[in-house]
Symmetry: C2
Subunit: 140 residues, 2 copies
């Protein structure tokens, strides 16, 4: 069973209709780079309306099938959610490739900070930026 099929099944079991538009967007997401934008998807499915692409991306995020990655400049990228537990991203500023990591060590800091500030801490966002081995060499 292909990823596309699995995602399709999940859509229907969650009570959503499996339309051609959604199928196309899912295929495009699967065929995209590690880190892709809505624009990337649109390019792959030019016959599907812009609004539908945005709506479908939101749906996939809501269903935890893809995750949003916010870049340094504030722009959004998407990525198939292969690591569904709490995790963060190490993003290559050269080529955009991404490494997931989960042992962020922020919880300890959160606790300390909660004590000091009396805030009730609800969560955090952490992203690391750097150059992947390939980009390291070619820029080095």
């Amino acid at each position: 069973m292909s990823s596309a099929h699995r995602i399709g099944s999940l859509l229907t079991t969650e009570g959503h209709r499996l339309t051609t538009g959604r199928r196309a967007v899912v295929e495009a997401a699967l065929a995209s780079d590690d880190l892709f934008s809505v624009a990337d998807v649109q390019r792959l499915v030019p016959r599907i309306g812009r609004a539908t692409v945005f709506r479908t991306m939101r749906l996939l995020v809501d269903l935890d099938l893809v995750c949003r990655v916010r870049l340094e400049d504030g722009s959004l990228r998407y990525r198939l959610r292969v690591a569904p537990e709490h995790h963060h991203h190490l993003v290559c500023t050269g080529c955009g490739s991404v490494e997931d990591f989960s042992d962020c060590g922020v919880d300890a800091v959160s606790k300390t900070l909660a004590g000091r500030t009396k805030y009730e801490i609800q969560g955090h966002r952490l992203e690391l930026y750097g150059l992947c081995p390939t980009c390291c060499v070619s820029s080095g």
Copy 2:
């Protein structure tokens, strides 16, 4: 010597002109909430052109007089830079108030991750979200 004056001096010593527009924007920033948007500033100086407000904010950021804070939804806020060294923000999701903190403990994680992934890590962004003591009580 007021903050406005100090900022004005810094502008001129850095070779920028101290125009009425810039003065007004600085005054507005000083009069604003802890965490303010460009729109907040615009509301306070409606006679100053939109472009000028944006340009002045960028100038203030470039001069390290204010820092940008990216909210969970990706939108930008500004804040007078009282803690100019490397630091992060603990943002109240209730009222928007902010605590700075600097001992984020991410460098250790960076080192570990650099070893494991062979990335050359350049930096990170960390933001914590929670409820400040006041909002804690009122939502409690």
